[in-house]
Protein backbone atom coordinates (compact mmCIF):
# COMPACT_ATOMS: atom_id res chain seq x y z
CA UNK A 1 0.00 0.00 0.00
CA UNK A 2 1.20 3.49 -0.73
CA UNK A 3 2.38 4.83 2.61
CA UNK A 4 1.11 8.35 2.01
CA UNK A 5 -2.43 7.06 1.80
CA UNK A 6 -2.08 4.39 4.47
CA UNK A 7 -4.15 5.88 7.27
CA UNK A 8 -2.44 3.73 9.85
CA UNK A 9 0.99 5.10 9.02
CA UNK A 10 2.38 8.18 10.78
CA UNK A 11 5.63 9.83 9.85
CA UNK A 12 8.26 9.50 12.55
CA UNK A 13 6.62 6.80 14.67
CA UNK A 14 9.12 4.19 13.49
CA UNK A 15 11.98 6.52 14.48
CA UNK A 16 10.48 7.03 17.95
CA UNK A 17 10.01 3.27 18.37
CA UNK A 18 13.68 2.73 17.52
CA UNK A 19 14.62 5.51 19.95
CA UNK A 20 12.50 3.81 22.63
CA UNK A 21 14.24 0.47 22.12
CA UNK A 22 17.62 2.21 22.01
CA UNK A 23 16.93 3.91 25.36
CA UNK A 24 15.77 0.62 26.89
CA UNK A 25 18.70 -1.45 25.71
CA UNK A 26 21.72 0.89 25.41
CA UNK A 27 22.63 0.98 29.14
CA UNK A 28 22.29 -2.80 29.45
CA UNK A 29 24.35 -3.51 26.35
CA UNK A 30 27.09 -1.10 27.42
CA UNK A 31 27.37 -2.78 30.82
CA UNK A 32 27.50 -6.17 29.10
CA UNK A 33 30.32 -4.96 26.84
CA UNK A 34 32.31 -3.48 29.73
CA UNK A 35 31.94 -6.68 31.74
CA UNK A 36 34.35 -8.22 29.21
CA UNK A 37 36.89 -5.45 29.75
CA UNK A 38 40.32 -6.75 30.77
CA UNK A 39 41.25 -3.54 32.56
CA UNK A 40 40.65 -3.16 36.30
CA UNK A 41 39.57 0.41 35.63
CA UNK A 42 35.97 0.71 34.58
CA UNK A 43 36.72 3.67 32.30
CA UNK A 44 39.49 2.50 29.96
CA UNK A 45 39.14 -0.38 27.55
CA UNK A 46 41.95 -2.89 28.03
CA UNK A 47 40.96 -5.59 25.57
CA UNK A 48 38.54 -8.51 25.70
CA UNK A 49 38.76 -10.87 28.65
CA UNK A 50 36.67 -13.18 30.78
CA UNK A 51 38.67 -12.44 33.93
CA UNK A 52 35.78 -10.74 35.76
CA UNK A 53 33.56 -13.75 35.16
CA UNK A 54 36.29 -15.91 36.65
CA UNK A 55 36.48 -13.41 39.49
CA UNK A 56 32.75 -13.79 40.21
CA UNK A 57 33.16 -17.55 40.66
CA UNK A 58 36.64 -17.82 42.20
CA UNK A 59 37.64 -14.32 43.31
CA UNK A 60 37.81 -13.01 46.90
CA UNK A 61 34.11 -12.13 46.90
CA UNK A 62 32.98 -15.39 45.30
CA UNK A 63 31.89 -17.01 48.59
CA UNK A 64 29.63 -14.04 49.31
CA UNK A 65 28.15 -14.15 45.81
CA UNK A 66 27.56 -17.90 45.92
CA UNK A 67 25.79 -17.68 49.24
CA UNK A 68 23.70 -14.74 48.00
CA UNK A 69 22.86 -16.63 44.80
CA UNK A 70 21.83 -19.68 46.81
CA UNK A 71 19.61 -17.55 49.08
CA UNK A 72 18.04 -15.80 46.09
CA UNK A 73 17.34 -19.00 44.18
CA UNK A 74 15.99 -21.03 47.10
CA UNK A 75 13.73 -18.18 48.24
CA UNK A 76 12.53 -17.61 44.67
CA UNK A 77 11.71 -21.31 44.12
CA UNK A 78 9.79 -21.60 47.38
CA UNK A 79 8.03 -18.23 47.09
CA UNK A 80 7.02 -18.88 43.48
CA UNK A 81 5.76 -22.40 44.30
CA UNK A 82 3.58 -21.28 47.19
CA UNK A 83 2.40 -18.13 45.38
CA UNK A 84 1.48 -20.10 42.25
CA UNK A 85 -0.48 -22.66 44.27
CA UNK A 86 -2.37 -19.94 46.15
CA UNK A 87 -2.95 -17.99 42.93
CA UNK A 88 -4.20 -21.05 41.01
CA UNK A 89 -6.76 -21.82 43.71
CA UNK A 90 -7.70 -18.15 43.85
CA UNK A 91 -8.08 -17.88 40.07
CA UNK A 92 -10.39 -20.92 39.92
CA UNK A 93 -12.43 -19.51 42.80
CA UNK A 94 -12.71 -16.14 41.07
CA UNK A 95 -13.25 -17.21 37.45
CA UNK A 96 -15.23 -20.42 38.06
CA UNK A 97 -16.98 -19.42 41.27
CA UNK A 98 -19.94 -17.75 39.59
CA UNK A 99 -21.22 -14.36 40.72
CA UNK A 100 -20.86 -13.77 44.46
CA UNK A 101 -20.84 -11.07 47.08
CA UNK A 102 -17.33 -9.83 47.75
CA UNK A 103 -16.01 -10.79 44.33
CA UNK A 104 -14.64 -7.34 43.58
CA UNK A 105 -13.32 -7.07 47.15
CA UNK A 106 -11.49 -10.37 46.63
CA UNK A 107 -10.04 -9.11 43.37
CA UNK A 108 -8.93 -5.89 45.07
CA UNK A 109 -7.25 -7.89 47.84
CA UNK A 110 -5.41 -10.11 45.34
CA UNK A 111 -4.23 -7.01 43.43
CA UNK A 112 -3.29 -5.16 46.64
CA UNK A 113 0.42 -6.15 46.54
CA UNK A 114 0.72 -4.57 43.06
CA UNK A 115 -1.15 -1.41 44.01
CA UNK A 116 0.64 -0.58 47.26
CA UNK A 117 4.00 1.10 46.51
CA UNK A 118 6.87 -1.29 47.20
CA UNK A 119 8.48 0.92 49.80
CA UNK A 120 5.18 1.06 51.74
CA UNK A 121 4.89 -2.74 51.67
CA UNK A 122 8.47 -2.90 52.92
CA UNK A 123 7.80 -0.54 55.83
CA UNK A 124 4.52 -2.22 56.76
CA UNK A 125 6.09 -5.70 56.70
CA UNK A 126 9.05 -4.58 58.80
CA UNK A 127 6.72 -3.02 61.38
CA UNK A 128 4.53 -6.14 61.41
CA UNK A 129 7.42 -8.56 61.97
CA UNK A 130 8.99 -6.34 64.58
CA UNK A 131 5.68 -5.99 66.49
CA UNK A 132 4.98 -9.72 66.65
CA UNK A 133 8.64 -10.32 67.51
CA UNK A 134 9.33 -12.45 64.43
CA UNK A 135 13.06 -12.84 63.83
CA UNK A 136 14.16 -11.22 60.57
CA UNK A 137 15.90 -13.65 58.22
CA UNK A 138 15.23 -16.11 55.42
CA UNK A 139 11.73 -16.91 56.67
CA UNK A 140 10.61 -13.28 56.88
CA UNK A 141 11.94 -12.68 53.34
CA UNK A 142 10.12 -15.79 52.11
CA UNK A 143 6.78 -14.72 53.60
CA UNK A 144 7.05 -11.23 52.13
CA UNK A 145 8.01 -12.63 48.70
CA UNK A 146 5.04 -15.00 48.68
CA UNK A 147 2.71 -12.05 49.27
CA UNK A 148 3.93 -9.88 46.42
CA UNK A 149 4.37 -12.82 44.03
CA UNK A 150 0.67 -13.82 44.28
CA UNK A 151 -0.75 -11.14 41.92
CA UNK A 152 2.03 -11.73 39.38
CA UNK A 153 1.22 -15.44 39.32
CA UNK A 154 -2.52 -14.74 39.38
CA UNK A 155 -2.63 -12.57 36.24
CA UNK A 156 -1.46 -15.09 33.60
CA UNK A 157 -3.31 -17.95 35.31
CA UNK A 158 -6.65 -16.10 35.41
CA UNK A 159 -6.14 -14.83 31.85
CA UNK A 160 -5.64 -18.42 30.69
CA UNK A 161 -8.64 -19.66 32.66
CA UNK A 162 -10.87 -16.95 31.20
CA UNK A 163 -10.03 -18.26 27.72
CA UNK A 164 -11.16 -21.80 28.52
CA UNK A 165 -14.80 -22.69 27.89
CA UNK A 166 -16.56 -24.06 30.96
CA UNK A 167 -18.15 -26.78 28.79
CA UNK A 168 -15.09 -29.03 29.35
CA UNK A 169 -15.64 -29.09 33.08
CA UNK A 170 -19.41 -29.33 32.69
CA UNK A 171 -18.94 -32.39 30.47
CA UNK A 172 -16.62 -33.94 33.08
CA UNK A 173 -19.10 -33.26 35.86
CA UNK A 174 -21.95 -34.67 33.76
CA UNK A 175 -19.87 -37.84 33.63
CA UNK A 176 -19.74 -37.89 37.45
CA UNK A 177 -16.18 -36.61 37.89
CA UNK A 178 -15.83 -35.00 41.29
CA UNK A 179 -14.35 -31.50 41.53
CA UNK A 180 -10.81 -32.66 42.24
CA UNK A 181 -10.81 -35.00 39.24
CA UNK A 182 -12.38 -32.30 37.09
CA UNK A 183 -9.50 -30.03 38.05
CA UNK A 184 -6.78 -32.67 37.85
CA UNK A 185 -7.76 -34.38 34.60
CA UNK A 186 -9.69 -31.72 32.68
CA UNK A 187 -8.90 -28.19 33.76
CA UNK A 188 -5.25 -28.61 34.72
CA UNK A 189 -4.07 -30.08 31.37
CA UNK A 190 -5.66 -27.13 29.52
CA UNK A 191 -4.54 -24.40 31.88
CA UNK A 192 -0.98 -25.54 32.64
CA UNK A 193 0.70 -23.05 30.28
CA UNK A 194 -0.90 -20.27 32.32
CA UNK A 195 0.20 -21.86 35.59
CA UNK A 196 3.77 -22.36 34.38
CA UNK A 197 3.96 -18.87 32.98
CA UNK A 198 2.63 -17.53 36.30
CA UNK A 199 5.24 -19.56 38.18
CA UNK A 200 8.08 -18.21 36.04
CA UNK A 201 6.94 -14.61 36.40
CA UNK A 202 6.59 -15.01 40.18
CA UNK A 203 10.06 -16.58 40.22
CA UNK A 204 11.62 -13.63 38.35
CA UNK A 205 9.79 -11.09 40.51
CA UNK A 206 11.09 -12.77 43.65
CA UNK A 207 14.62 -13.07 42.26
CA UNK A 208 14.68 -9.38 41.29
CA UNK A 209 13.21 -7.86 44.42
CA UNK A 210 15.46 -5.41 46.16
CA UNK A 211 13.47 -2.87 48.17
CA UNK A 212 11.34 -5.19 50.31
CA UNK A 213 14.18 -7.68 50.85
CA UNK A 214 16.53 -4.89 51.85
CA UNK A 215 14.11 -3.76 54.59
CA UNK A 216 13.36 -7.11 56.15
CA UNK A 217 16.42 -9.25 55.51
CA UNK A 218 17.89 -8.56 58.94
CA UNK A 219 21.62 -8.56 59.57
CA UNK A 220 23.97 -11.07 57.97
CA UNK A 221 21.79 -12.42 55.18
CA UNK A 222 22.11 -11.23 51.59
CA UNK A 223 20.33 -12.00 48.35
CA UNK A 224 21.92 -11.22 44.99
CA UNK A 225 20.25 -7.82 44.58
CA UNK A 226 21.13 -6.68 48.13
CA UNK A 227 24.72 -7.92 47.67
CA UNK A 228 24.99 -6.04 44.36
CA UNK A 229 23.50 -2.91 45.90
CA UNK A 230 25.92 -3.05 48.83
CA UNK A 231 28.83 -3.34 46.42
CA UNK A 232 27.65 -0.60 44.08
CA UNK A 233 27.31 1.81 47.01
CA UNK A 234 31.14 1.78 47.17
CA UNK A 235 31.47 2.30 43.41
CA UNK A 236 30.77 0.20 40.32
CA UNK A 237 33.37 -2.53 40.05
CA UNK A 238 34.00 -4.73 36.99
CA UNK A 239 33.12 -7.98 38.80
CA UNK A 240 29.71 -6.49 39.66
CA UNK A 241 29.18 -5.79 35.97
CA UNK A 242 29.96 -9.42 35.17
CA UNK A 243 27.61 -10.63 37.91
CA UNK A 244 24.89 -8.24 36.71
CA UNK A 245 25.31 -9.48 33.15
CA UNK A 246 24.84 -13.08 34.32
CA UNK A 247 21.72 -12.21 36.31
CA UNK A 248 20.39 -10.19 33.40
CA UNK A 249 20.86 -13.02 30.90
CA UNK A 250 19.25 -15.45 33.34
CA UNK A 251 16.15 -13.23 33.65
CA UNK A 252 15.95 -12.81 29.87
CA UNK A 253 16.19 -16.58 29.39
CA UNK A 254 13.34 -17.15 31.87
CA UNK A 255 11.12 -14.49 30.29
CA UNK A 256 11.74 -15.95 26.84
CA UNK A 257 10.81 -19.38 28.18
CA UNK A 258 7.66 -18.00 29.79
CA UNK A 259 6.79 -16.23 26.53
CA UNK A 260 7.04 -19.39 24.43
CA UNK A 261 5.08 -21.43 26.97
CA UNK A 262 2.38 -18.75 26.96
CA UNK A 263 2.36 -18.77 23.16
CA UNK A 264 2.01 -22.53 23.10
CA UNK A 265 -0.98 -22.17 25.36
CA UNK A 266 -2.61 -19.76 22.95
CA UNK A 267 -2.63 -22.22 20.06
CA UNK A 268 -6.26 -22.86 19.24
CA UNK A 269 -7.55 -26.09 20.64
CA UNK A 270 -9.84 -28.29 18.55
CA UNK A 271 -13.22 -26.82 19.46
CA UNK A 272 -12.31 -23.19 18.74
Amino acid sequence: MNRRFDIKHYQGFLAITCLCLFILYAPLIIVMIYSFNDSASITNWGGFSLRWYADVFTGPESEKFKLAAWNSLSIAVMAATVATTVATAGAIGMIRGGQFRGKSASFALISLPIMVPEIVTAVATLIFFSTIGFKLGTLSILVAHIVFCIPFAYLPISARLQGIEASYEEAAQDLYADRWRTFRYVLMPIMWPGILSGFLLAFIISLDDFIITNFIKGAGIETLPTAIFGSVKQGIKPNIMALSTLLLLFSIALVTLSYFIGKRGQEPHPTD
Binding site: I7, K8, Y10, I16, T17, C20, L21, I23, L24, P27, I30, V31, Y34, T43, V86, A87, A89, G90, G93, R96, G97, G98, S106, L109, I110, L112, P113, V116, P117, E118, I119, V120, V123, A124, L126, I127, F128, I146, V147, I150, Q162, E165, A166, R179, I204, D208, F210, F215, P225, V232, I236, S244, L247, S251, I252, L254, V255, Y259, T271, D272
Partner: protein
Protein backbone atom coordinates in the same frame (compact mmCIF):
# COMPACT_ATOMS: atom_id res chain seq x y z
CA UNK B 1 -11.67 -17.90 22.95
CA UNK B 2 -14.68 -18.63 20.81
CA UNK B 3 -15.90 -15.77 18.67
CA UNK B 4 -19.25 -14.20 19.35
CA UNK B 5 -19.52 -14.86 23.06
CA UNK B 6 -18.84 -11.16 23.66
CA UNK B 7 -19.84 -9.47 26.86
CA UNK B 8 -23.04 -11.46 27.17
CA UNK B 9 -21.24 -14.67 28.12
CA UNK B 10 -22.59 -16.37 31.18
CA UNK B 11 -20.46 -16.59 34.30
CA UNK B 12 -19.03 -20.08 34.71
CA UNK B 13 -19.81 -21.52 38.09
CA UNK B 14 -18.46 -25.07 37.93
CA UNK B 15 -16.49 -24.58 41.13
CA UNK B 16 -18.87 -22.24 42.97
CA UNK B 17 -19.64 -24.58 45.94
CA UNK B 18 -15.96 -24.61 46.92
CA UNK B 19 -15.02 -21.05 45.93
CA UNK B 20 -14.71 -20.00 49.58
CA UNK B 21 -12.08 -22.68 50.18
CA UNK B 22 -10.31 -21.81 46.93
CA UNK B 23 -10.12 -18.13 47.80
CA UNK B 24 -9.28 -18.65 51.47
CA UNK B 25 -5.48 -19.00 51.00
CA UNK B 26 -5.32 -15.71 49.05
CA UNK B 27 -7.43 -13.93 51.66
CA UNK B 28 -5.36 -15.29 54.53
CA UNK B 29 -1.90 -14.72 53.05
CA UNK B 30 -2.53 -11.21 51.72
CA UNK B 31 -4.85 -10.28 54.60
CA UNK B 32 -2.48 -11.30 57.38
CA UNK B 33 0.81 -10.36 55.78
CA UNK B 34 -0.13 -7.18 53.91
CA UNK B 35 -3.49 -5.75 54.97
CA UNK B 36 -2.86 -6.15 58.71
CA UNK B 37 0.71 -4.75 58.40
CA UNK B 38 -0.60 -1.69 56.54
CA UNK B 39 -3.18 -1.08 59.28
CA UNK B 40 -0.47 -1.56 61.89
CA UNK B 41 1.64 1.00 60.04
CA UNK B 42 -1.26 3.44 60.35
CA UNK B 43 -1.25 2.82 64.12
CA UNK B 44 2.53 3.29 64.30
CA UNK B 45 2.29 6.65 62.61
CA UNK B 46 0.36 7.87 65.68
CA UNK B 47 2.84 6.54 68.24
CA UNK B 48 5.80 8.16 69.99
CA UNK B 49 9.27 7.54 68.64
CA UNK B 50 11.89 5.52 70.47
CA UNK B 51 15.31 7.11 70.00
CA UNK B 52 17.12 3.97 68.89
CA UNK B 53 14.52 2.86 66.35
CA UNK B 54 11.12 1.34 67.18
CA UNK B 55 8.29 3.01 69.08
CA UNK B 56 6.86 3.75 72.48
CA UNK B 57 3.17 2.77 72.66
CA UNK B 58 1.86 6.22 73.47
CA UNK B 59 -0.49 8.23 71.27
CA UNK B 60 1.16 11.19 69.55
CA UNK B 61 0.61 13.40 66.55
CA UNK B 62 4.30 14.33 66.49
CA UNK B 63 5.04 12.37 63.30
CA UNK B 64 2.50 14.29 61.22
CA UNK B 65 3.26 17.55 63.01
CA UNK B 66 6.93 17.18 62.08
CA UNK B 67 6.07 17.32 58.38
CA UNK B 68 4.65 20.79 58.56
CA UNK B 69 6.11 22.47 61.65
CA UNK B 70 9.57 22.99 63.02
CA UNK B 71 9.35 23.32 66.81
CA UNK B 72 13.06 23.48 67.53
CA UNK B 73 15.35 20.84 69.00
CA UNK B 74 13.36 20.33 72.20
CA UNK B 75 9.93 20.81 70.68
CA UNK B 76 9.01 23.86 72.73
CA UNK B 77 9.93 26.69 70.37
CA UNK B 78 7.09 28.57 68.67
CA UNK B 79 6.13 26.49 65.60
CA UNK B 80 7.50 27.60 62.26
CA UNK B 81 6.61 26.15 58.90
CA UNK B 82 9.10 23.38 58.06
CA UNK B 83 9.72 23.44 54.31
CA UNK B 84 12.19 20.55 54.03
CA UNK B 85 9.63 17.71 53.91
CA UNK B 86 7.06 19.65 51.93
CA UNK B 87 9.81 20.29 49.37
CA UNK B 88 10.62 16.58 49.19
CA UNK B 89 6.96 15.70 48.56
CA UNK B 90 6.53 18.43 45.94
CA UNK B 91 9.76 17.34 44.25
CA UNK B 92 8.57 13.71 44.19
CA UNK B 93 5.27 14.71 42.60
CA UNK B 94 7.03 16.87 39.99
CA UNK B 95 9.58 14.13 39.21
CA UNK B 96 6.80 11.54 38.85
CA UNK B 97 4.77 13.88 36.61
CA UNK B 98 7.83 14.62 34.50
CA UNK B 99 8.61 10.92 34.10
CA UNK B 100 4.97 10.28 33.13
CA UNK B 101 5.02 12.97 30.42
CA UNK B 102 8.35 11.75 29.00
CA UNK B 103 7.13 8.13 28.99
CA UNK B 104 3.93 9.22 27.22
CA UNK B 105 5.82 11.18 24.55
CA UNK B 106 8.00 8.18 23.67
CA UNK B 107 5.59 5.43 24.71
CA UNK B 108 2.50 6.43 22.74
CA UNK B 109 4.10 6.49 19.27
CA UNK B 110 5.91 3.25 20.11
CA UNK B 111 2.73 1.52 21.25
CA UNK B 112 0.85 2.78 18.21
CA UNK B 113 3.60 1.68 15.85
CA UNK B 114 3.73 -1.82 17.35
CA UNK B 115 -0.05 -2.21 17.38
CA UNK B 116 -0.24 -1.41 13.66
CA UNK B 117 2.42 -3.95 12.62
CA UNK B 118 1.30 -7.07 10.77
CA UNK B 119 0.39 -9.90 13.17
CA UNK B 120 3.57 -11.90 12.54
CA UNK B 121 6.07 -9.17 13.50
CA UNK B 122 3.90 -7.51 16.17
CA UNK B 123 4.71 -10.16 18.78
CA UNK B 124 8.45 -9.67 18.26
CA UNK B 125 8.29 -5.88 18.69
CA UNK B 126 6.15 -6.30 21.77
CA UNK B 127 8.49 -8.89 23.21
CA UNK B 128 11.45 -6.51 22.72
CA UNK B 129 9.66 -3.82 24.73
CA UNK B 130 8.64 -6.31 27.45
CA UNK B 131 12.09 -7.81 28.14
CA UNK B 132 13.58 -4.79 29.95
CA UNK B 133 10.56 -4.79 32.27
CA UNK B 134 11.57 -8.23 33.56
CA UNK B 135 15.24 -7.36 33.95
CA UNK B 136 16.19 -6.51 37.51
CA UNK B 137 15.40 -2.84 38.18
CA UNK B 138 18.50 -2.53 40.36
CA UNK B 139 20.74 -3.72 37.51
CA UNK B 140 19.01 -1.38 35.06
CA UNK B 141 19.51 1.60 37.38
CA UNK B 142 23.15 0.66 37.98
CA UNK B 143 23.63 0.43 34.20
CA UNK B 144 22.19 3.92 33.80
CA UNK B 145 24.56 5.18 36.50
CA UNK B 146 27.48 3.56 34.69
CA UNK B 147 26.43 5.15 31.41
CA UNK B 148 25.93 8.74 32.57
CA UNK B 149 28.63 9.08 35.26
CA UNK B 150 31.17 11.89 34.87
CA UNK B 151 33.77 9.87 32.96
CA UNK B 152 31.28 7.32 31.65
CA UNK B 153 30.66 6.19 28.07
CA UNK B 154 28.08 8.90 27.37
CA UNK B 155 30.43 11.75 28.29
CA UNK B 156 33.34 10.05 26.48
CA UNK B 157 31.27 9.75 23.33
CA UNK B 158 30.06 13.35 23.49
CA UNK B 159 33.64 14.58 24.09
CA UNK B 160 34.94 12.46 21.22
CA UNK B 161 32.50 13.87 18.68
CA UNK B 162 33.16 17.37 20.03
CA UNK B 163 29.65 18.28 21.18
CA UNK B 164 30.99 19.26 24.61
CA UNK B 165 34.40 20.45 25.85
CA UNK B 166 34.18 19.25 29.43
CA UNK B 167 32.25 16.24 30.83
CA UNK B 168 28.63 17.00 31.67
CA UNK B 169 27.87 16.60 35.34
CA UNK B 170 24.73 14.49 35.08
CA UNK B 171 24.93 12.24 38.10
CA UNK B 172 23.49 13.63 41.37
CA UNK B 173 21.19 16.00 39.50
CA UNK B 174 17.41 16.08 39.30
CA UNK B 175 17.79 15.45 35.60
CA UNK B 176 19.58 12.14 36.25
CA UNK B 177 16.78 11.02 38.59
CA UNK B 178 14.20 12.06 35.99
CA UNK B 179 16.05 10.09 33.34
CA UNK B 180 16.28 7.08 35.67
CA UNK B 181 12.54 7.11 36.41
CA UNK B 182 11.68 7.52 32.74
CA UNK B 183 13.97 4.64 31.85
CA UNK B 184 12.69 2.42 34.68
CA UNK B 185 9.00 2.65 33.88
CA UNK B 186 8.89 3.23 30.09
CA UNK B 187 7.60 -0.32 29.34
CA UNK B 188 4.67 0.29 31.75
CA UNK B 189 3.46 3.07 29.45
CA UNK B 190 3.79 1.12 26.21
CA UNK B 191 1.92 -2.06 27.20
CA UNK B 192 -1.55 -0.71 28.16
CA UNK B 193 -1.59 1.77 25.26
CA UNK B 194 -0.63 -1.04 22.92
CA UNK B 195 -3.49 -3.15 24.25
CA UNK B 196 -6.08 -0.44 23.57
CA UNK B 197 -4.75 0.57 20.12
CA UNK B 198 -4.75 -3.10 19.14
CA UNK B 199 -8.48 -3.32 19.91
CA UNK B 200 -9.21 -0.07 18.06
CA UNK B 201 -11.35 -0.52 14.95
CA UNK B 202 -9.53 1.21 12.08
CA UNK B 203 -12.76 1.34 10.08
CA UNK B 204 -13.47 4.47 12.15
CA UNK B 205 -10.30 6.10 10.86
CA UNK B 206 -11.12 5.02 7.31
CA UNK B 207 -14.58 6.55 7.58
CA UNK B 208 -13.02 9.82 8.79
CA UNK B 209 -10.49 9.67 5.97
CA UNK B 210 -13.24 9.15 3.37
CA UNK B 211 -14.79 12.35 4.70
CA UNK B 212 -11.46 14.15 4.01
CA UNK B 213 -10.29 14.46 7.60
CA UNK B 214 -6.52 15.10 7.67
CA UNK B 215 -4.44 12.28 9.18
CA UNK B 216 -3.38 14.11 12.34
CA UNK B 217 -6.98 15.16 12.93
CA UNK B 218 -8.00 11.51 12.70
CA UNK B 219 -5.37 10.65 15.29
CA UNK B 220 -6.43 13.43 17.63
CA UNK B 221 -10.21 13.40 17.27
CA UNK B 222 -11.03 9.77 16.46
CA UNK B 223 -8.27 7.50 17.78
CA UNK B 224 -7.24 9.35 20.96
CA UNK B 225 -10.72 9.46 22.58
CA UNK B 226 -11.14 5.71 21.92
CA UNK B 227 -7.76 4.67 23.34
CA UNK B 228 -7.90 7.14 26.25
CA UNK B 229 -8.46 4.43 28.90
CA UNK B 230 -5.20 2.77 27.82
CA UNK B 231 -3.35 6.08 28.00
CA UNK B 232 -4.71 6.79 31.49
CA UNK B 233 -3.77 3.28 32.64
CA UNK B 234 -0.24 3.76 31.28
CA UNK B 235 0.11 7.13 33.01
CA UNK B 236 -0.96 5.62 36.34
CA UNK B 237 1.39 2.66 35.96
CA UNK B 238 4.28 5.10 35.48
CA UNK B 239 3.21 7.77 37.97
CA UNK B 240 2.51 5.50 40.95
CA UNK B 241 5.84 3.64 41.14
CA UNK B 242 7.76 6.84 40.23
CA UNK B 243 6.22 8.65 43.18
CA UNK B 244 7.56 6.12 45.69
CA UNK B 245 10.73 5.22 43.80
CA UNK B 246 13.81 4.49 45.85
CA UNK B 247 16.50 3.15 43.53
CA UNK B 248 16.63 5.95 40.93
CA UNK B 249 16.88 8.81 43.46
CA UNK B 250 19.26 6.82 45.66
CA UNK B 251 21.71 5.66 42.98
CA UNK B 252 21.46 8.46 40.40
CA UNK B 253 20.72 11.37 42.69
CA UNK B 254 22.24 12.88 45.79
CA UNK B 255 21.13 14.82 48.85
CA UNK B 256 19.61 17.55 46.69
CA UNK B 257 17.38 15.13 44.79
CA UNK B 258 15.82 13.38 47.80
CA UNK B 259 12.42 11.84 47.11
CA UNK B 260 9.75 10.31 49.37
CA UNK B 261 11.22 6.82 48.97
CA UNK B 262 14.66 7.89 50.22
CA UNK B 263 13.09 9.84 53.08
CA UNK B 264 11.15 6.77 54.21
CA UNK B 265 14.13 4.45 53.90
CA UNK B 266 16.27 6.76 56.02
CA UNK B 267 13.82 6.47 58.94
CA UNK B 268 14.31 2.71 59.26
CA UNK B 269 18.06 2.40 58.77
CA UNK B 270 20.27 2.23 61.80
CA UNK B 271 19.67 3.96 65.11
CA UNK B 272 19.13 7.47 63.76
CA UNK B 273 15.73 6.56 62.36
CA UNK B 274 12.29 7.68 63.41
CA UNK B 275 9.77 4.88 62.92
CA UNK B 276 6.54 6.85 63.51
CA UNK B 277 7.77 9.55 61.12
CA UNK B 278 8.64 6.90 58.50
CA UNK B 279 5.24 5.25 59.02
CA UNK B 280 3.52 8.64 58.64
CA UNK B 281 5.48 9.39 55.44
CA UNK B 282 4.46 5.96 54.10
CA UNK B 283 0.82 6.63 55.02
CA UNK B 284 0.89 9.96 53.17
CA UNK B 285 2.47 8.28 50.12
CA UNK B 286 -0.09 5.46 50.25
CA UNK B 287 -2.99 7.96 50.54
CA UNK B 288 -1.70 9.84 47.50
CA UNK B 289 -1.55 6.59 45.52
CA UNK B 290 -5.04 5.57 46.67
CA UNK B 291 -6.44 8.93 45.56
CA UNK B 292 -4.93 8.41 42.09
CA UNK B 293 -6.30 4.85 41.92
CA UNK B 294 -9.78 5.90 43.08
CA UNK B 295 -9.80 8.63 40.46
CA UNK B 296 -8.86 6.00 37.90
CA UNK B 297 -11.53 3.53 39.06
CA UNK B 298 -14.20 6.26 38.86
CA UNK B 299 -13.05 7.35 35.40
CA UNK B 300 -13.21 3.73 34.27
CA UNK B 301 -16.69 3.04 35.58
CA UNK B 302 -17.91 6.26 33.96
CA UNK B 303 -16.36 5.06 30.70
CA UNK B 304 -18.30 1.79 30.90
CA UNK B 305 -21.75 3.23 31.58
Amino acid sequence: MAAGTGSGRTVSATFSPVRGWLLLPSWLVIGIFLLVPVLLMLVYSFLTKEFRGGVIWEFSLAAYDQFVFDRGLFGDDPPQIEWAYITIFVRSILQALGATVLCLLIGFPTAYFIATRPANTRAIWLFLVTIPYWVNLLIRTVSMKFLIRDNGPLNEALLAIGVIDAPLQLINTNFAVQLGLFYSYLPFMVLPIYASVERYNFALSEAASDLYAPKWTILRSILLPVVKPGIIAGCILVFVPSLGAFLAPDLLGGAKTFMIGSLIEEQFKGNAGNWPFGAAASMILLSMVLVVLLFYARAQSREQT
